[in-house]
Symmetry: C2
Subunit: 431 residues, 2 copies
């Protein structure tokens, strides 16, 4: 018998096929048992009619517990009223394992209860849909860069020093070298890559030992960081908006069923089309002040400020040209206003806040050295990085996009802990 | 003027284009300066004729130092005798930055000297070619699984316990949870993923604090780990060989120029076609003994043993059905011989040794519990993993392929430290 998957049933209408999976739900009435099977690709109602199977099989079908593993062989029928649009008329059923009493039931469970059972929770429809969309987003990220001449450039996880301060670093003993710190960003290494390959992207996990329990922070999260030689701030923004539009449109094209499971307002995503608004930091501050929020010029935006800015637009907005004190040492000083840095953040629509941070980088050796001293960073540790300005320095730019925040926005879900298979937060290291 | 890249010159013959890059090499004789530019996509000879440019430009071209950044505008000419097959007749040249004296010269440098300057070393042809092939391999890995219904499933890096013993773990303080250990393998999490999605692959960095300085060990390395529900050992081996054939053939198709830079014997790669030989551990031991190596039955293979087995075949060989003592607790016991485990290793051709380790997993709750006790593992820590056998256990299998070893084999290079942008080894944490 031909084995297939639920997602492929549309190609087998009228044929007899075998499906292998788990019991998602069931009901029976007299001579019929309705088994909703999940096989990891979708759901399918399998109809067991007492006259089509042996008595043993019928009894077995009736007594299947939630999440029991089993296989069925039967005829595929289009049935628009059924979940997924197809049904199986069962001729043969085989139990693989009768599941113990399953802890996750249709009733409401607390978030800690579910998080403790994350290895099982991912089997439920919403979590499954979120992680399918996560896959689509990551695939789109790679396709986008691979098809535009970028070279994948894996930056190291173990680093001898930090990019953005030492208070939020995870540290591990490293043989005779003292300590290694887990990377917070692959950017500096990515800049070395851009000088060797022209255009690169770093894509891997990054780590922050942040003691904040918010819905937007994980201690371990994935980030994609493209870096381009011979790019300025405007080219960087062009790429950012093309990139984000591409990802959103790919999800709309390929994962519509999953968005529907999540009851996502699809019209909001359909609006994510270039060009995105570009406003300066100064203009953004005006918006915040107009709305009466108590914001002091020169500070970084907090979550309420980001929401205030973002809600004025129906697509992501890019905020550029920041007071240099707010931003990292490596950002290029603005030629027109030396108090400003050529940084740019992208705030997602619908108040989801920052999903991208980027900048044109300082390519002038002397100015960069000055910045390192101003920020009281250990000059010796950055000597290799300064080499990139000694040996063929060029204008260059790049950005970093947090995967979990992007998944959260596109899926329309509140907390980033549901956007990765096993979220790690302060207070959450298991399972 | 139209800006393009060196890799795209073939589409611009006869046109006037601008290239932006760095000086790889140069020579001059009288009225001509020959500048070999690299732009990250390839090399191109730019011919500066004294009559075609200003005197300033000509002098600037003559005085360019190695790795200086510059742009040129000129006419594209097909020239089979030139590197890359095309030349640029320069009409305009612009210096971006005159590089300081570049430390890496065509003369021989020691490996530590080069490793200290890895951020620059990656600009040289061989390193560039290796990392381009690395990108191609990773892209092929993802394409392979994405196009076969697998879902990407990122396993956590921070784990509360270890898979393969505690002596080689990196450890970091984790808030009030005590210590977190850096993952050595995402497999156990991947098994949870397979039960939710059917077929998944974990793909991320993994860590081993191994105190061994060999040419095959890094402390941080990337691994891809597919895991499939309703798969047995034979199906696992079918997938392994299809997978490895695909990767090698993709590199041959898309990265032939890079293989040639590395002077790789391409015929050896062309031979990597299914089916691959499958031999049992017992048969492998026979081969070792026939060659007179001092190997004791029941041990794991060492590097010389792997070489002895591999050199008998012109393609990778799969060694299956191992004495259970050699293998991890989670491998399924062989039904025909309970002293054996259903593990399988793939040894690369040409003596490159193990690149894949895999197995059918133990799906019987009682046998798995027995194994955990036999191996004296902390039962409590594996309780969540045992849940996968309580709630819909199914036959399943998977494997893990080390990216750096695979790159090393396909590129035909001796040491894995050249197969990743910034290798981390015992004694090497910088830059």
């Amino acid at each position: 018998m031909k084995q297939t998957t639920i997602s492929d049933l549309k190609n087998h209408v009228g044929e007899t096929v075998t499906l292998k999976g788990w019991l998602y739900n069931s009901r029976h009435s007299g001579k019929l048992v309705f088994l909703i099977m999940r096989d990891g690709t979708g759901l399918c109602q399998c109809v067991v009619f007492i006259k089509n199977v042996s008595q043993e099989e019928f009894e077995s079908a009736k007594s299947l517990t939630q999440e029991s593993s089993f296989s069925v062989t039967g005829t595929v029928k289009a049935e628009p009223r059924s979940v997924g649009g197809y049904e199986l008329d069962v001729q043969k059923m085989e139990l693989v394992q009768l599941a113990h009493e399953y802890p996750i039931t249709p009733k409401e469970h607390g978030i800690e209860f579910l998080a403790d059972r994350r290895h099982l929770w991912i089997r439920s429809q919403r979590q499954w849909a979120v992680l399918k969309i996560r896959h689509e987003i990551i695939k789109s990220v790679r396709n986008f860069f691979d098809s535009r001449g970028f070279t994948l450039f894996d930056a190291p996880i173990f680093t001898p020093n930090s990019v953005e301060g030492t208070t939020t670093l995870f540290e591990t003993p490293y043989f005779d070298e003292g300590s290694a710190y887990l990377t917070q960003s692959g950017q500096l290494y990515g800049e070395a890559g851009a000088m060797a390959f022209g255009k690169i992207y770093v894509f891997g996990p990054t780590f922050r030992a942040e003691k904040s329990k918010t819905r937007r922070h994980l201690t371990e999260f994935w980030m994609v960081e493209p870096e381009m030689a011979y790019y300025d701030l405007d080219m960087n923004m062009d790429l950012m908006e093309e990139f984000v539009e591409y990802i959103v449109q790919q999800v709309l094209t390929n994962r519509r069923a999953e968005l529907e499971i999540l009851e996502r307002d699809i019209s909001k995503l359909e609006a994510v089309k270039r060009p995105f608004p570009r406003i300066s930091y100064d203009e953004a501050v005006e918006i915040i002040h107009k709305k009466g929020l108590p914001f002091e010029y020169g500070n970084d935006f907090g979550a309420p400020d980001e929401t205030a800015i973002g809600e004025d637009f129906d697509k992501p907005v890019m905020v550029h040209t920041w007071p240099k004190e707010v931003k990292a040492f490596y950002m290029k000083q603005d030629e027109k206003d030396p108090t400003k840095a050529k940084g740019v953040d992208m705030l997602a629509s619908e108040g989801y806040g920052e999903i991208i941070g980027g900048a044109q980088r300082e390519d002038n050796l002397d100015l960069l050295l000055e910045k390192i001293r101003e920020h009281q960073l250990p000059e010796e540790a950055y000597n290799w990085y300064l080499d990139l300005r000694r040996y063929g320095s060029v204008p260059h730019a790049g950005f970093g996009m947090g995967i979990e925040r992007t998944v959260s926005w596109i899926c329309g879900i509140h907390h980033v802990r549901e956007t990765i298979p096993f979220a790690r937060l302060m207070g959450r290291l298991k399972p």
